[in-house]
Symmetry: C2
Subunit: 493 residues, 2 copies
């Protein structure tokens, strides 16, 4: 059977292999000839486009505009903010020359030693430095503030161990960089964008997230405070899905960006930055998919409905096609995207497996008997449930079904997360429970040393200090010292 050609490793057998298989077999992405860089294939890119469009609309609704800053960053810029260079210098691609020449020995081309740059250029791992060097010229007075820019771009971080979507040397993302006259306004912006990310994750990706603050160890290099949304994957590991940083005046000081405030005094500008990346596609896959393939939330599926005709001859096909085309027109007016797969070189069974693998939310199948009975077979991808129903009113039925699927996928993920989130009250309990995966809510004495010890001994990190979690004080599970509140631990991607 054709389906076996696409057979996946099961999640139970090897979760990691299941993920890799799925990404490749569902035509989302593949490794390229360049170490650590991926090719995002059309089906995977179509999901990214849906994400982009929605996020971009949300950014614009909150007053942001897009702009574009250079790919390259002069090496000296990176050094200007001490923590920032510490965080990024060890994993960056460095451009040293600007020309090749024919190999004097006659074999291909070589770097032209005469075309050496005076100062090396870094391929941006993030753009705070180049952007703040630019903002310096844009800002003189409080009247020039706020600046609310976002950039859609590629960035490069030379990761040693890479995985498609989750951790690649090059990835696509958006990075917001805002400048404000007051600390309060910048903090409000950082929190607002965290809320935008959480809303996107929950309402579009159907992915429940915990909003929180990072501990100092996990903070962005150069930030005063890093806010994050943390999600739970089906294997019990956490995944950081987005971050929003309050940068204080760190970059303004590094690049000497001062302004005249309303009291007519010079002050440094306050900053935020915030980003999500193609990593979200990895999160989407890991959170919802199953052993048959992808399960995509309808709001982000490249197409939401696929229709497959089952026929013995051209005459039957023609009758089915006629009926389907009217339905497709109706679905389109309802804003529902549909694909009609009447290709004649693949059997219906192969198509069924293929679209299950690709996570199309709703599949319709129509055969000769359906034509006689005015019925259609409807399968929903999330539950794999099938029903044969009347063709009359089918468009409205599908519209409601898509809403139900979106909601059901979210609820399932939320129930799973709830089932693997629990409080632990001793380090022994912590270690034992950690082996089962999930979020562990535990008391911690607030020191980087204890956090580091836990990380080294258990591979768990503090995912976040939840913004709306339990704030009862207690004692640290490791040191017994006072703890102001529980924080969320997990092993993570």
């Amino acid at each position: 059977m054709a389906k076996e050609l696409k057979e996946l490793t099961s999640r139970e057998e090897n979760y990691s292999q299941w993920y890799n298989d799925l990404v490749v077999k569902a035509d989302l992405a593949e490794n390229s000839a360049v170490r650590g860089c991926m090719v995002i294939k059309p089906y995977g890119y179509a999901i990214w486009e849906k994400m982009q469009r929605q996020l971009d609309d949300m950014f614009k609704e909150t007053g942001h505009v897009n702009a574009y800053f250079p790919l390259f960053i002069p090496k000296s810029f990176l050094s200007k903010e001490a923590d920032h260079v510490e965080g990024f210098a060890k994993e960056c691609a460095v451009v040293t020359h600007y020309r090749l020449k024919n190999d004097p020995n006659g074999s291909g081309v070589v770097v032209d030693p005469e075309a050496k740059l005076e100062e090396e250029l870094i391929v941006r791992p993030t753009s705070e430095t180049i952007i703040w060097s630019t903002y310096k010229n844009w800002i003189q007075s409080y009247r020039d503030l706020p600046i609310l820019c976002n950039q859609w771009a590629n960035v490069v971080r030379w990761e040693m161990r890479t995985r498609l979507f989750l951790r690649t040397a090059e990835f696509l993302w958006q990075e917001g960089h805002t400048a404000h006259a007051t600390e309060a306004e910048a903090l409000e912006e950082a929190r607002k964008m965290l809320d935008v990310y959480a809303e996107f994750a929950e309402n579009y990706m159907a992915l429940p997230v915990v909003k929180g603050v990072k501990s100092a160890n996990e903070r962005f290099a150069g930030a005063v405070e890093t806010f994050c949304i943390e999600a739970m994957m089906q294997d019990g590991k956490a995944l950081q899905a987005g971050t929003s940083h309050f940068l204080g005046q760190n970059f303004a000081k590094a690049f000497d960006v001062q302004f005249v405030n309303q009291e007519n005094k010079l002050d440094y500008v306050w900053a935020t930055s915030w980003g999500v990346s193609t990593r979200l596609i990895g999160a989407l896959i890991m959170a919802h998919s199953d052993n048959n393939g992808l399960v995509l939330p309808p709001k982000l599926a490249p197409f939401q409905v696929v229709v497959i005709p089952i026929y013995k001859n051209a005459e039957q096909l023609e009758l089915i096609s006629e009926k389907v085309k009217a339905l497709m027109a109706e679905l389109k007016t309802l804003g529902i995207s549909v694909k009609y797969d009447d290709s004649d070189n693949k059997k219906p069974g192969w198509k069924f497996a293929e679209y299950e693998l690709k996570g199309v939310p709703v599949r319709l199948a129509m055969g000769a008997r359906d034509m006689e009975n005015n019925t259609v077979e409807v399968m929903r991808r999330d539950t794999l449930g099938k029903e044969t129903i009347s063709f009359d009113g089918i468009a409205q039925h599908i519209k409601q079904l898509l809403v139900d699927i979106q909601k059901n996928i979210y609820t399932k993920a939320l129930n799973f997360r709830t089932s693997v989130t629990r409080e632990v009250n001793s380090y022994d309990e912590f270690k034992a429970e950690l082996e089962k995966g999930g979020f562990l809510s535990a008391h911690w004495d607030g020191t980087p040393e204890t956090e580091e010890r836990i990380k080294v001994e258990t591979k768990a990190t503090i995912r976040c200090i939840p913004l709306d979690g339990d704030e009862t004080p207690g004692v640290c599970i490791v040191t017994g010292k006072p703890s102001v509140r529980r924080v969320l631990f997990a092993r993570s991607y």
Copy 2:
């Protein structure tokens, strides 16, 4: 007067300086701290977003999908197609290392010599090589064809002399890369995309273009045939606005991409590539703008209408605002984008100059007398013509006005091009006429040597062999040898 702060150099005085001033003063783009790389500012990027959205829709309507390929190209890949490496090796950014480290002498960071790449990576100047190395794994049979991918991306060409939008080291573009089973189909695709570009230029940019074929000297490095659209700027210089390449089997052969065809025989795959870039923004500016600033075609203007209230006190402003808000709602339902500038820190005269500079197609001004008389002052940016008309039915009036402006801008550019396009019949006449600028239609003997001689002696190049031009034979203006037809010469950007 505030207007003078933004005063432009006039076109007559110094066209080149006028362009540079305009790009910067209208907040479209600026030079960055990185040599040759620009910052595209929000207003400039908003124009690019309009272009992207429209082009992307047109690509999808013609069956294309988006994908994403790596930023980096292994050095050896470039060498695989002989003409290609010749064309791009001399102007590429080369990544040689993947890590920085703290300077042992204590001053900042330096390249870590231990982190040298085995093979250097080139920052893509264009993506044929990395894409065809990928397509090799996607194509086995004619059933896998055609592949119709497009990519929105940044590319880097280390140009020595750069100008904002027109020629920058890094620029944004789209590059289509298609794979076909037959030569005829690939040729048809290359022509089809040329038509898409021409339609976009004429109907959206209001920019008349000549569709043609490049001579061998001007062909894309690696192409069998390069089709192009050529536009005429106001200073009489031509600008290549887009290219579509028929690549034959060159890249398939370089990367050994073979497929089993319908006759069950192995053959190399046929290819096209096609692209337009942020250079189009430069073309847009140069073709239409005037000494007061930008003139934007309504279809690509970030906002199409600006409304400016003229008031003496808060009470007057409130009455005007109320009336304007109802109008804005009405315009939005007509799909017209509007900005209401009621900021109180700038005078109306300053605002008038600012929005003229920014090329907003329609400006409305409303003062106390307009309120009394139920009128509004309407200015159209293309002609700077003003009229005071009744407020009743104003939304429909604006809708029609935007159509008229779009058409008028196109007609004006077309008339200009017609006026500077003429036939010349001797080399002396050619040289004399060339000094006046414009397109010269002349006979040429078809040899690269003659073309090169003309270029060296006059700085004019063959912009294209028009697809639908005069095909009467004649004799070459330089050598007197037979010429099969006239071709189009000009000095160019």
